[in-house]
Symmetry: C2
Amino acid sequence: MRTMSEEDFIQKLAGLFPGSRDVTVGIGDDAAALDLGLPGGMLLLAAADQVISRIHFTADTSPVLAAEKLFKRNLSDIAAMGGVPTHALVTVAMNPFEEKALTEFHQGLSNISNLYGVPVIGGDLSSLPEPGLTASLTIFGKAEKEKLCLRCNAAPGDCIYVTGSFGNSFRSGRHLSFPPRLHEARFVAGTYTSAMIDVSDGLAKDIARMAEASGLSARLEPDAVPRSPGASLEQALCDGEDYELVFAVSPSQAEELEKLWPFPGVRLTRIGEFRPGPAGEIRGVSLPADKGYDHFHGKND
Amino acid sequence: MRTMSEEDFIQKLAGLFPGSRDVTVGIGDDAAALDLGLPGGMLLLAAADQVISRIHFTADTSPVLAAEKLFKRNLSDIAAMGGVPTHALVTVAMNPFEEKALTEFHQGLSNISNLYGVPVIGGDLSSLPEPGLTASLTIFGKAEKEKLCLRCNAAPGDCIYVTGSFGNSFRSGRHLSFPPRLHEARFVAGTYTSAMIDVSDGLAKDIARMAEASGLSARLEPDAVPRSPGASLEQALCDGEDYELVFAVSPSQAEELEKLWPFPGVRLTRIGEFRPGPAGEIRGVSLPADKGYDHFHGKND
């Protein structure tokens, strides 16, 4: 697909389906949010993501790690909404369809399920016509309305904060070993931010999405961008698959956030700010025209 | 996988994940049921199913029909629980990754979404490393606790009723064109039955699953089994992909059900009865030892 961006296509998709009064957030954010009348005014969150061999992991990656990555990608989406994950459903298809590989895949699911207390409640198993593995996971979560974090909620002047560091995730194996930032997200959601995204497609690209959704531009300070070991600035900005958080914080709360940040093992860095339009533009760093991990174009195989 | 049946493996899976008090029905039925405190004591239903080219449809099937099948398979699962479908999330991966095929796939989703009033609220798009299409859909629904239909609820002496006819579904194209039996299921759920399943893997196999879960055997009347055009008895019993309903009705209600059945275009047939054990045994018909569509063994490619 060369004639339309992923964002444009997803925008077009949203118009294909009927509206529903209980959909607070639909297609286009890290997760959907449904207002089903849950106790305490909680919203039900739901997101779905997939992993495919030779796209999201190499052919020699163990089914255990593939399953763990799949589960954690989805946990990261719930984190980015400011929510708490609750349940998951998983479909998997593989070839060869063997008990050993299926058991390993489900061991990976079990590892993450037990670590985060998120039961898998259903799914489906199938064979594939050719060697490989594809799997899809739908995650449910809950969030208080007042803690919900959306891409569109950044305000002009907000500081741009990130957790962790960026770049080189595929080569370093970080794309498999990362911890989803659930605790960090809950610490800031509703208290320090209402605008958050997780970085799957590349730091610059995902900040541009936040900026676009909020009708703002973003100015980045290149020297401030935390780089993972071995990563250049361009890699830090464009590689993707970091699964760190980006969130917007009012300047009046920035000092307090930095002082009270309770996660000594997780770097918190201010890398720039949101400014009035043009919407979606990134300033302060030079970006290659067509860079940024793009699942839609399947560039990272 | 030749050493373990799909049922055994799924039973094993259920033990890998933490329990949760809000999971009323977990792995092993047509859908999971969650008790989240929804208004009116409604349960939230959730099921996930997938379609894969050259497994669930031929390589020349249009993306429109593949998407419609995917959506309807999941609607059928909600029907079999006695529920009403509410929302869906969809992940799709294809190669070539082209706007035309993606648009056709989403047109298929849109057709079913609008026909049944079930919005798609999220998902993911990816490329595949080799030509083909894989897609997974998670469906949500709602059901009153007292209408919930489970495989394990059949009682000794219950009549076995089916909707529609069976066999030859793949060759006739019925596996693509079938209507999910949502209205029929809601008519009987809670009023005439609390034990229901939809037929995806083969009539005999799915009745055996109900019988097994209920600790009963089933006696079928071979002459009563409604066959689709061109289907032999063996095909009607074993082919699968019919997406009709099987449900258990107390003999005291059978006459009333047949008299009041309000769907003149949908055949309702009593094909046998559940009896005391041995659990899972099918009597009255001779079945080939290894027949029955089995997604787990990927037999129908």
